[in-house]
């Protein structure tokens, strides 16, 4: 009687051998130097994109509103993580692009906020704190890991990016939305911070925030903004894919083909 022989995936075996092959020159120091030195440019790219597209909303508690903050920030901040997701999945099959970017961005923003906003011009850190993108990054990387699809990550990942960003940062924002009476007007603590801690060149009218929606859809303004923010985020994800595919990996396609 013939016994069934287990099928051996020779191709997988071959790839596994390549993956586990020992090298003479390529040691862990190369990995260390890559991750550490790339962190600077990744953080810088994420930071400058965020600063100049949506930075004002992140600088101050009295800009973190429920209409514009959630609409613009996800778009501005998904671009570089999307590019890094492509690069790190394409190159290493690692679902780390969004988290890596978020962690590097964390260091960039907090070094900036502490060294420059707090210790240089003496703004209190509870007024100029930076949002965090790390929970959003982790969940979006998980989407990529599970789906292995950039289209699904663009759609589902954008939604998780926006929602996770909102929920995780709202935790920190809620204390500043407590109402108080200040100068005989009902304002939030964040508004009081904005009035009290004087910014020479950010007069209050400069805030691009909700001025009271004409139609609040029965107080659904926040959720409408989140939904639209998600849509813009998908667009931003696409821009990031372009950067990753055409500018980062694209130049070496001719070499990659030889492999």
């Amino acid at each position: 009687m013939a016994t069934a022989t287990p099928t051996i995936d020779l191709e997988a075996l071959r790839l596994r051998e390549i993956a586990e092959r020992p090298y003479k020159f390529i040691d862990r120091k190369w990995d260390f130097m890559f991750w550490v030195t790339a962190g600077f440019v990744v953080g810088a790219a994420a930071n400058i994109t965020h600063l100049l597209f949506a930075g004002d909303w992140d600088f101050w508690t009295d800009w973190k509103d429920r209409q514009w903050w959630m609409t613009i920030t996800p778009f501005a901040t998904i671009i570089i993580p999307s590019a890094l997701q492509f690069i790190q999945w394409r190159a290493w099959r690692m679902p780390t692009g969004a988290t890596y970017t978020a962690v590097c961005l964390f260091f960039c923003t907090w070094i900036g906020r502490l060294l420059q906003w707090k210790y240089f011009i003496n703004m209190p850190i509870n007024f100029v704190w930076s949002a965090t993108w790390i929970p959003a990054g982790i969940i979006t990387d998980l989407v990529l890991l599970k789906s292995r699809s950039f289209i699904l990550t663009a759609l589902i990942g954008s939604a998780t990016w926006t929602m996770a960003f909102w929920m995780s940062n709202y935790i920190m924002m809620l204390p500043y939305l407590q109402p108080t009476s200040f100068m005989n007007h009902t304002l939030t603590v964040a508004d009081v911070q904005g009035i009290g801690y004087i910014r020479a060149q950010t007069p209050e009218y400069l805030r691009i925030i909700e001025h009271g929606s004409l139609r609040t859809f029965l107080q659904e303004t926040q959720y409408v903004s989140l939904a639209f923010g998600t849509t813009l985020c998908v667009f931003g994800y696409g821009i990031g894919q372009f950067l990753g595919r055409k500018l980062a990996v694209g130049p070496i396609f001719r070499y990659l083909k030889q492999y």
Partner: protein, 414 residues
């Protein structure tokens, strides 16, 4: 190379030596770079007073004065029609906290609706925050035009043993210190998210031989983009999936639980407020005269600017010229008193005699050119040869009249 190093060091040492020298007495905050017409034609300032020049942390000072959006407001600023304004303070960092602001007696926490010709008597209460010697100006920010700065003053803040606090009471009755409120949550939660992010990253980059990075390119290159090879290839194992699910699960749990907790703990929250006011009109000012400037002559050899104005006394008492104000400077008629501070100077008035009721008189005020040049208020070589400002006249009862004047600048020679 050596010469360059020596020159650079010498320049830097020279700069360092200058640090021991006190700063120039007039310490502007950037307004000198605004063109003359911007500062002369836009806003007039008078009676700016700081109630104290030295105070301790947590003590208040009142900054009062009057600002007028002049009828001569430039056409190329805010499309010639200022609509939204904001009284603020120009200070080198958050040295004071603004705790109260009234415009024409009305509380104005945020921006207000303004227009050309309006007069605003402002009263800002500043709570001292950061010990040091700080130069502080009142300013009015106008949408799409930027900030127009009034005369400033050095203020000393001395430290207080208790440090600075900014107490307010929430509507739910809780007393908080705005200076530190919520800081623990911001720093703590941010730190926790950093731990989670580092956990994810270190998991994927650190462990031993299995998580080498750059050697994976070789294998990844051979796989279709939407495949990771599965456990057979061992790039991403089941254990990797489980670990990532764990980290992501902790992240989701932390976020959701944190969100629910914060929503309950900080219930009753409201959105950010936009509360713009229309201040009431300032008390009517005395209308004693009407004035029209006819010429402003700058004489480079004498370094003087003569502004000639035809003044008609429409009141029943004789009036005299008290002062001419332009930008954030005040030029006083010597008969009106001596200048104080860094923004007041003397001028000559001719004729000195009061103007009789019903009479019309050409009045010439002569202003020292060096002051205007130092303040960049003499618009020679700029795109608008214009002089503007506010001429103050008063009668013997102390009633003051402020006339906005504007005329072309005509130098006698270049």
């Amino acid at each position: 190379m050596r010469r360059f190093v020596v020159m650079t060091l010498a320049a830097l040492l020279g700069a360092a030596a200058m640090m021991g020298v006190r700063a120039t007495s007039v310490s502007a905050h950037g307004e000198i770079a605004q063109e003359g017409f911007v500062r002369m034609q836009s806003v007039g300032w008078w009676d700016v007073k700081f109630s104290k020049t030295s105070l301790a942390q947590n003590e208040n000072l009142n900054l009062t004065g009057t600002a007028k959006i002049l009828e001569t407001w430039p056409a190329n600023m805010s499309d010639g029609n200022p609509k939204i304004c904001y009284f603020t303070v120009i200070e080198p960092g958050a040295r004071f906290v603004l705790v109260d602001r009234k415009i024409n007696g009305m509380e104005a926490p945020q921006s207000f609706f303004c227009q050309k010709g309006d007069v605003y008597n402002f009263n800002m209460t500043l709570r001292a925050r950061d010990p040091g010697n700080w130069h502080v100006h009142p300013a009015i920010a106008v949408k799409e035009s930027g900030s127009l700065i009034g005369p400033g003053q050095y203020i000393d803040i001395n430290s207080s043993p208790d440090g600075f606090s900014f107490p307010i009471t929430l509507l739910n009755g809780k007393n908080i210190d705005v200076e530190s409120y919520g800081t623990w949550l911001v720093l703590g939660f941010s730190a926790v998210t950093l731990v989670l992010g580092m956990w994810w990253m270190l998991f994927w980059t650190v462990p031993g031989g299995r998580k080498r990075t750059i050697t994976r390119l070789r294998v990844a290159n051979e796989l279709p983009l939407n495949q990771d090879g599965g456990p057979a290839v061992n790039l991403i194992t089941k254990s990797d999936h489980r670990q990532c699910e764990l980290i992501a699960g902790v992240t989701v749990a932390l976020t959701v639980v944190g969100f629910i907790w914060a929503s309950v703990h900080y219930s009753g929250n409201i959105p950010l407020q936009v509360d713009w006011v229309t201040p009431p009109a300032a008390p009517a000012q005395a209308q004693l005269t009407s004035a029209t400037a006819s010429n402003a002559i700058y004489d480079p050899s004498a370094d003087t600017l003569k502004v000639i104005t035809s003044v008609t006394n429409t009141s029943k008492s004789p009036v005299t010229v008290n002062a001419f104000r332009t930008g954030n400077l005040t030029f006083l008629n010597p008969s009106n008193g001596l200048p104080h501070g860094d923004y007041e100077f003397q001028m000559k008035v001719s004729p000195q005699e009061p103007i009789a009721p019903g009479a019309t008189q050409d009045v010439t005020v002569t202003i020292p050119g060096n002051v205007l040049r130092q303040q960049e208020l003499l618009p020679l070589g700029q795109a608008q040869y214009v002089v503007a400002g506010v001429l103050e006249l008063a009668d013997s009862n102390g009633n003051r009249n402020f006339d906005t004047i504007q005329t072309s600048l005509n130098p006698t020679s270049t």
